[in-house]
C-alpha cells in the first residue's frame, strides 16, 4: 500500500529529474537563440551601408575546431567520472575548459579587429546590430559553461568531486553539447549563408 519510489509501472528514476530539467532549459535557450537567428537572416543584405559581411568576416576555423573537440573531451570527462576515475575526469574537464577559452579568445580577437580595423560596431548598420548580439549571446553561454566546468575542475582537484556527482557532470556536458550545437547554427548562418 505504501509508496516505493522506483517500483511502480511508469516509474522514472531520480536521475531523470535532472535530465528533464536540462532538456527544458535547452528548449528554452534554443528558442531564445532561434529568434536572434531569425533576426539575423531577415536582415541579411538589408544594411543601408557597409561594412558588409563579405568584406570583413572570416570563418573562425581554429576556434570552431577547438569548440567541437571540446564536446568530445567533455563527454570523456563525464564518462570518466561515472567510471570512478576522478583524476582523469578532472583532466578532461580541464582540457574542455581550455579549448572553450581558446574559442573565446578567438572571438575576442575577431571583435577587436571588426571594431578597430573595420569600423563595425553594433550601431553601425543592420549587420552590426544583428551580428554582435547573436555571436555575443553564444559567447556568453560559453562563458557560463566555462564557469561550470571551472567549478567542476576545482572540485575534482580538491577531492570534493565524487562518483555520486556523475549525473550532474553529465548535465553540464549536455549543456556544453547544446552550446556547441548552437555554434553549428551560428557558423552556418553568419559565416556561410550570410556572407
Amino acid at each position: 500500500m505504501s509508496a516505493h519510489a522506483a517500483t511502480h509501472a511508469g516509474a522514472v528514476g531520480h536521475a531523470w529529474r535532472g535530465r528533464a530539467g536540462m532538456i527544458g532549459l535547452i528548449i528554452a535557450e534554443g528558442s531564445l537563440f532561434a529568434v536572434f537567428v531569425v533576426a539575423y537572416l531577415y536582415y541579411t543584405g538589408k544594411s543601408l551601408h557597409g561594412p558588409f559581411p563579405k568584406d570583413v568576416l572570416h570563418i573562425p576555423l581554429v576556434g570552431t575546431i577547438c569548440l567541437f573537440a571540446s564536446s568530445a573531451t567533455v563527454a570523456f570527462g563525464a564518462r570518466a567520472l561515472a567510471r570512478g576515475d576522478i583524476r582523469r575526469s578532472g583532466g578532461w574537464l580541464m582540457v574542455t575548459a581550455v579549448l572553450g577559452a581558446i574559442f573565446l579568445a578567438g572571438t575576442a580577437r575577431e571583435w577587436h579587429q571588426l571594431i578597430y580595423r573595420d569600423g563595425l560596431t553594433i550601431g553601425t548598420n543592420l549587420f552590426g546590430s544583428t551580428f554582435y548580439p547573436l555571436v555575443g549571446l553564444h559567447a556568453s553561454h560559453v562563458i557560463v559553461g566555462l564557469v561550470m566546468l571551472g567549478l567542476c575542475c576545482v572540485f575534482a582537484a580538491t577531492g570534493a568531486l565524487r562518483v555520486a556527482h556523475a549525473e550532474r557532470v553529465e548535465m553540464v556536458s549536455w549543456y556544453w553539447h547544446f552550446v556547441d550545437g548552437v555554434w553549428v547554427v551560428v557558423l552556418t548562418v553568419v559565416y556561410l549563408i550570410g556572407r
Partner: protein, 558 residues
C-alpha cells in the same frame, strides 16, 4: 489505512511561533504549497491595483471630454493595467495553482526543483515591484519618466529612444524580462515534475485534467517566452547601445517586433486560459457527481491547442499589410484552433448531462464561465475572419472579446477554483452566502461592462484613446460600460471580506469537504509539509472514487 488519518505531530509543530518566526518561515520556504499561496495572493493584490487603474480609465471614458487624468497619465494607466493583468496577475495565479496542486494531484512530495521554485516566485515579486516603482521613480527627460505609456505590447518604433525618451519604457522592459525568467524556471519545474515524479500507479493517462493543462502550458512557455525575452534584449540594445533592430530610420523593421511579440503573445493567452479549462474540468465533475466525459479527447484537445496555438500569432497583425497569403494562412490556423477549444464545452455539458448538479459557489462560477467563455470563443471566431478583423481589430470590440476570455473565462474559473481549493489549503470553508453575492455582483457588473463594450467597437471606437469626440454616438454605450465598474468593485470587496473572515471563522473543512475523487483530497486540510502520510493506490483516474466505491471502480471503464 484511512485517508483521513491526522498528520504526524512533530516537535516543530508543538512550539509556539512568534509572528516574526512565522514570517521568516514563509520567506525562506521552498514548499510548493506555500509558494503557490504566495503566488496567488500576490496575483490578487496586483489584480486590485490593476483593477483600480481600469476603474480610473472607465471613469474618464464615461462621457466625452472628461479630464479626470491628463492624457499621458491615461496612457500610462492602460499600459500598466494590461501589463500587470497579464504578467503580474494571470501568470502568477495560473502558476500559483499549478505550484500548489500539481504535486498533490500526482502524489509527489514537492516540485522537482524546490529552490528554483522559490527563486521563480521572488524574482516575479521583484519584477512586479520594479514595474510599479516606475510610478514614483525615474524622472527621465522632459518630465516624461514615470510609468511606461507604450501599451502592454509596446510596439516599435514607439518604444525607441527617439519617440519615448526617459526610462519609463525601460522599467517595462526590465520588469517583464525578469518576470519572464521566473516563469521559464517554473515551467521547467512543472514539466520535470510531471514527467518524472508521479507517484505509484499514476501514469500519464491517469493524471487529472488540470495537471495535463499545466503540463501543456508549461511546455508551451518553454517555446514562447524566450522569444519575448529575445525581443526585449533587442529593444534594450536598441535603446542603450544604439543597435537598429527596430530602427526604421536605419532600415529596421517595425513589423518584426510585432512578429516576435505576438509569437509569444498569442500562445501566452492560451497559457492563461487553458489552466482555467483545467479548473473547470475538475470542478464540474465533482458538482455534477459524474466522471468527466471523454477524458482522452479532452487531453488530446488540450495538447493540440498547445501545438496549434504556436501557429496563430499573426491574427493580431491582419491589418499590418502582410499580404493575402499570410492573412489567409493565419485566418485558417485561428479557425482551426476553435475546434479543440469549442469541443471542451461539449465535454463539460456532457459531464453535467445526466448528473445531479449541486449549485454551490464553485459550480456557480463554472456556470457563469460556460456562458461567458462561449461568447468569448464565438467573438474570437468572428475576429478570425480577417476582413471582419480589418474593421474591428484595435477597436473596443477586441477589448470586449479578450476581457470575455480573460475575466469571463479565466477569472471566473479561477474564482471557482479558489472557492473549491481554499478549504484544502486552509482547512476552512469560504462562506457560501458571501460567495453567492460575489458571484452575482460580478456576473452582472462584468456583463454590463463588457457585453455592452462590443457595441462601441462596432460603432467605430478605437482602443487606447483617453477621450473621444462627442458627435460619434458613443456616449451612452460608454456610460453603461462604466456603470458595471462599481458592481465589480463591490464584488471584489465581498470576495476579499469573505477570504479574511473565513480564514478566522470559516467552517472547518476536513480533508474532503466536497466528496471529490482526486489525490489532493486524500490528505488533511491543510496538507502536512510532506503532503501525504500514505498514498492511496492509484489504479484509475479517480483514486478516491475507487476507495469510496470498491464495488464499481473506474479502472475497467477507462
Amino acid at each position: 489505512m484511512s485517508v483521513h488519518a491526522p498528520p504526524l505531530v512533530t516537535a516543530e509543530a508543538m512550539t509556539r511561533h512568534t509572528w516574526l518566526e512565522h514570517a521568516h518561515e514563509w520567506v525562506v520556504t521552498v514548499d510548493h504549497k506555500r509558494l503557490g499561496i504566495m503566488y496567488i495572493v500576490s496575483g490578487l493584490v496586483f489584480f486590485v491595483i490593476a483593477g483600480l487603474e481600469a476603474s480610473l480609465m472607465r471613469l474618464q471614458l464615461a462621457w466625452p471630454g472628461l479630464h479626470i487624468v491628463p492624457p499621458e497619465t491615461f496612457n500610462r494607466l492602460f499600459t500598466m493595467h494590461g501589463t500587470s493583468m497579464v504578467f503580474l496577475v494571470g501568470i502568477p495565479i495560473v502558476f500559483g495553482f499549478g505550484n500548489y496542486l500539481v504535486p498533490l494531484m500526482i502524489g509527489a512530495r514537492d516540485l522537482a526543483f524546490p529552490r528554483l521554485n522559490a527563486f521563480g516566485f521572488w524574482i516575479f515579486l521583484f519584477a512586479g515591484l520594479l514595474l510599479h516603482f516606475s510610478f514614483i521613480g525615474g524622472e527621465g527627460l522632459y518630465g516624461s519618466g514615470s510609468a511606461p505609456a507604450v501599451g502592454w505590447f509596446a510596439y516599435a518604433p514607439l518604444t525607441s529612444r527617439a519617440f519615448t525618451p526617459g526610462n519609463a519604457t525601460d522599467y517595462w522592459n526590465l520588469a517583464i524580462f525578469l518576470a519572464g525568467v521566473g516563469t521559464i524556471g517554473t515551467a521547467i519545474n512543472i514539466v520535470a515534475t510531471t514527467l518524472t515524479m508521479r507517484g505509484p500507479g499514476m501514469t500519464l493517462g491517469r493524471m487529472p485534467i488540470f495537471v495535463w493543462t499545466m503540463l501543456t502550458v508549461s511546455a508551451m512557455t518553454l517555446f514562447i517566452l524566450p522569444p519575448l525575452s529575445a525581443a526585449q534584449i533587442m529593444l534594450i540594445l536598441d535603446r542603450f547601445l544604439g543597435a537598429h533592430f527596430f530602427d526604421t530610420q536605419a532600415g529596421g523593421s517595425a513589423v518584426m517586433w510585432q512578429h516576435f511579440f505576438w509569437f509569444f503573445g498569442h500562445p501566452e493567452v492560451y497559457v492563461l486560459m487553458v489552466p482555467g479549462f483545467g479548473f473547470v474540468s475538475e470542478i464540474i465533475p465533482v458538482f455534477s457527481r459524474k466522471v468527466i466525459f471523454g477524458y482522452a479527447t479532452l487531453v488530446a484537445a488540450t495538447v493540440s491547442i498547445g501545438g496549434v496555438a504556436l501557429g496563430t500569432w499573426a491574427h493580431h497583425m491582419f491589418a499590418v499589410g502582410m499580404g493575402s497569403t499570410l492573412n489567409t494562412f493565419f485566418a485558417m490556423s485561428t479557425m482551426l484552433i476553435a475546434v479543440p477549444t469549442g469541443m471542451k464545452i461539449f465535454n463539460w455539458l456532457a459531464t453535467m448531462y445526466g448528473g445531479r448538479i449541486r449549485f454551490q459557489t464553485p459550480m456557480l462560477f463554472c456556470c457563469a464561465f460556460l456562458f461567458q467563455f462561449l461568447c468569448a470563443g464565438l467573438t474570437g471566431i468572428m475576429l478570425s475572419v480577417a476582413p471582419f478583423d480589418w474593421q474591428l481589430t484595435d477597436s473596443y470590440f477586441v477589448v470586449a472579446h479578450f476581457h470575455f476570455v480573460l475575466i469571463g473565462g479565466l477569472f471566473f474559473a479561477a474564482f471557482g477554483a479558489i472557492y473549491y481549493w481554499f478549504p484544502k489549503a486552509t482547512g476552512r470553508m469560504l462562506s457560501e452566502r458571501l460567495g453567492r453575492w460575489h458571484c452575482w455582483l460580478f456576473v452582472i457588473g462584468f456583463n454590463l461592462t463588457f457585453l455592452t463594450m462590443h457595441v462601441q467597437g462596432l460603432l467605430g471606437m478605437p482602443r487606447r484613446i483617453y477621450t473621444y469626440p462627442a458627435d460619434r454616438g458613443w456616449e451612452m454605450w460608454n456610460l453603461v460600460t462604466t456603470l458595471g465598474v462599481p458592481l465589480q468593485i463591490a464584488a471584489t470587496l465581498v470576495f476579499v471580506v469573505n477570504i479574511l473572515v473565513s480564514l478566522r471563522r470559516g467552517k472547518p473543512a476536513g480533508a474532503d469537504p466536497w466528496d471529490a475523487w482526486t489525490l489532493e483530497w486524500a490528505t488533511t486540510s491543510p496538507p502536512p509539509s510532506y503532503n501525504f502520510e500514505t498514498l492511496p493506490v492509484v489504479t484509475s483516474r479517480r483514486p478516491l472514487w475507487d476507495l469510496k466505491h470498491p464495488d464499481d471502480p473506474d479502472g475497467p471503464h477507462e
